[in-house]
């Protein structure tokens, strides 16, 4: 009987020791693994993607139109209050970059009047830029695209 009890105690200690090893390795791994690596990486990628998307605005503003560029056209449209050409060229540029014709343009927080406007839903992306005009004003240009 004593012998059987002794064997059971030995097995119990062995079991405890095994448990100890498992727990120790678990704790060690918990301590050593950095905090939320996977989600941090995801966050960075998401932000970087958003930022890399902002490259679009550089290309958009520097887009050549005859002897001028899109930034000139925006400034001229603002001065003359004639936005037809701006709307047309924006549509052309969006088509050229395989984007939907879903956009809104704001100059100094005022939405420019559009001749035809497609109803758009989806996630908005805003592109902001400050642009000078030939009559020495600085205007805030905002292009909102819908995905």
């Amino acid at each position: 009987m004593v012998k059987k009890a002794q064997i059971a105690a030995d097995w119990f200690v062995f079991f405890l020791f095994a448990m100890f090893l498992v727990l120790a390795s678990l704790v060690a791994s918990m301590v050593l693994i950095p905090n939320s690596i996977a989600r941090s990486r995801f966050y960075i990628i998401q932000e970087a993607e958003e930022l890399s998307d902002s490259l679009f605005i550089y290309g958009f503003l520097r887009q050549k139109i005859d002897n001028e560029n899109m930034a000139d056209l925006i400034a001229l449209s603002y001065i003359t209050k004639d936005y037809k050409n701006l709307e047309q060229k924006t549509i052309e540029t969006l088509k050229r970059t395989n984007r939907k014709e879903c956009f809104d343009i704001y100059i100094n927080e005022k939405e420019i009047p559009r001749e035809s406007k497609t109803k758009c839903k989806g996630k908005e992306k805003e592109f902001l830029a400050t642009l000078p005009t030939s009559n020495k004003e600085a205007i805030n240009f905002k292009l909102v695209l819908y995905e």
Binding site: L16, L23, S36
Partner: protein, 539 residues
């Protein structure tokens, strides 16, 4: 201790340890699996955002530079190439300083009496003048744009310009002297774009006497640089290339400490743009045309307009045109010299008088950058040192029925120059048949002595080469001279026309004239000679 005791001790030791481990594991799992709302990667993101802001600022600068160049070109054109005070000044006829002088006439005073000669000086806008004007005007224009950028990061008066020509077009390269700095306010760096990045750029050493100075990368004198350090000078600041740790200074916290500076993002906002309007070529084209017109007008003034009763400079100017393709419209007008003060009344007192013509150019061109018109205005002053043409003697005056001795008149063609003051008459008796005509008035014996003008006696002091003898003149518009009674026989006559500023005809046209004697006159009267040229036998 028996085996039972050993097992019991191990069991009782492992149980609390395992309990502890379980608690730690619980906490760790709890911490590492809880939702994360923080912004990991914010530093990298801020860096990217800073680049983005830099790019947007560069787009603004490029556009502003383009408009500033456009806005600068117009006033430079309108001010004849000189945005600041032009070297030759402005046309004195215009109080509003509209016409910039590209050529002026000024007097060089020879002595204290104020006598001197007039000279021409050209002040055409050269490439360097245009560049200077462009830089001055550009920075002024650009500063206004820089002020309006929402973040105060764009430096003012920041550009030097280089003008280059490329395939007929002008390229303007703006070289920035100062960079754009992000963030602009270093003290607010943590509130802005680069909150966590600092870089170690400097070390401060408080070593053991061998290196007495604090280490700094900015010394104001090379003498303060420690041994083994090299220094380089950028503007007024001396930088020591000196690392205390490499020359024996112990790198311990209590001896040396690190100084950290916040990192900034810096971009040189230089630009390069193509101006569709080549300002330098444009002015070169105008200057070439003005030179051409100037020479043509001079030539025209030398021979006169060919009409009488007009003003030569005005008539000659009317004939000229500016044949430049880009010009929409132009006007060249001329102002003759002052008529009020024809010449100094007294030799010794210099009376200022306008001894030059003024040509005013007003050119209209379409603006290359807008629907407006550009009006370019400039003027040139032409020194009136242009001699009138030679005066040709025609014959005597027809004094029908027949002239008698003492009523003979020498007649000549009215000089075509419009500013003729009068005619100087010289003659020389011909001694022999084969005598050659005189080629210089110094070879002439006498001068005509009969006054025939309405005003009182005027002593002419017109030329610097004043004849040694006194002179009398026939004032224009009279073109005849009553031949002195004492003259008989063959003579060479020269009539020199002089204008109001003493310019005398260079070319001489001597004329051989036979002045009949009293007997010849009586004989002709008796024979009722009608062809008087036969009587005078002029050649």
């Amino acid at each position: 201790m028996n085996k039972k005791g050993t097992t019991t001790i191990i069991a009782f030791t492992l149980v609390p340890i395992m309990l502890y481990l379980m608690i730690v594991a619980y906490i760790e799992v709890g911490v590492k699996t809880k939702d994360y709302y923080g912004k990991m990667g914010s530093m990298q993101n801020n860096l990217l955002r800073t680049y983005h802001k830099g790019e947007l600022a560069l787009i603004y600068i490029d556009q502003a530079a383009k408009y500033s160049v456009y806005n600068s070109i117009l006033p430079i054109m309108e001010k004849g190439g000189f945005i600041d005070e032009p070297p030759c000044g402005y046309d004195s006829f215009e109080d509003d300083k509209d016409y910039v002088l590209w050529q002026r006439v000024y007097e060089v005073l020879d002595n204290y009496m104020g006598t001197g000669e007039s000279k021409e000086e050209t002040c055409y806008p050269k490439k360097s003048d245009i560049k200077k004007s462009l830089i001055s005007s550009f920075n002024k224009e650009f500063n206004e744009y820089a002020e309006k950028y929402p973040t105060p990061i764009i430096p003012k008066n920041n550009y030097g310009l280089i003008l280059e020509e490329k395939e007929g077009k002008q390229e303007i390269i703006g070289i920035a002297t100062q960079n754009l700095i992000f963030p602009p306010d270093i003290n607010k760096i943590r509130e802005r774009m680069l909150p966590t990045i600092t870089i170690e750029v400097n070390r401060e050493c408080l070593s053991k006497g061998s290196i007495p100075e604090y280490y700094s990368d900015e010394y104001y004198s090379c003498n303060k640089c420690p041994e083994k350090a090299t220094c380089s000078i950028y503007s007024t600041i001396t930088n020591c290339n000196y690392d205390p740790c490499n020359i024996g200074c112990e790198w311990r916290d209590e001896k040396c400490s690190k100084m950290k500076r916040d990192m900034v993002y810096s971009i040189k906002p230089s630009f390069r743009l193509e101006a569709s309007y080549n300002l330098v070529n444009k002015f070169d084209e105008y200057i070439g045309k003005v030179e051409e017109i100037k020479e043509k007008i001079r030539d025209c003034l030398k021979i006169g307009s060919g009409k009488s009763g007009d003003v030569d400079i005005i008539e000659c100017t009317k004939k000229e045109n500016l044949e430049i393709d880009s010009i929409e419209d132009y006007e060249i007008s001329a102002i003759p010299p002052d008529d009020d003060v024809p010449f100094p009344l007294n030799k010794l007192i210099k009376i200022p008088s306008k001894k030059y013509y003024t040509l005013l150019f007003r050119i209209k061109e379409p603006s290359p950058y807008s629907n407006e018109e550009i009006t370019i205005k400039f003027a040139i002053e032409l020194l009136d040192d242009i001699p009138p043409p030679a005066t040709e003697i025609i014959t005597y005056k027809d004094n029908w029925p027949l002239p008698s001795k003492g009523s003979l008149y020498l007649k000549w063609e009215s000089n075509p120059a419009s500013d003729i003051l009068g005619y100087w008459i010289y003659y020389k008796k011909i001694q022999s048949e084969d005598e050659t005509p005189p080629i210089d008035i110094s070879q002439m014996d006498n001068f005509a002595g009969q006054k025939n003008y309405e005003t009182n006696t005027i002593e002419p002091t017109i030329t610097n080469q004043e004849p040694s003898r006194s002179e009398e003149i026939i004032l224009a518009p009279f073109t005849e001279w009553k031949i002195d009674n004492s003259l008989e026989g063959d003579y060479h006559f020269i009539i020199i026309a002089k204008d109001k500023f003493g310019n005398a005809a260079i070319e001489l046209a001597p004329k051989k004239v036979h002045i009949p004697t009293k007997e010849e006159m009586e004989e002709a009267q008796q024979e009722q000679v009608t062809d008087l040229s036969e009587l005078f036998n002029t050649q």
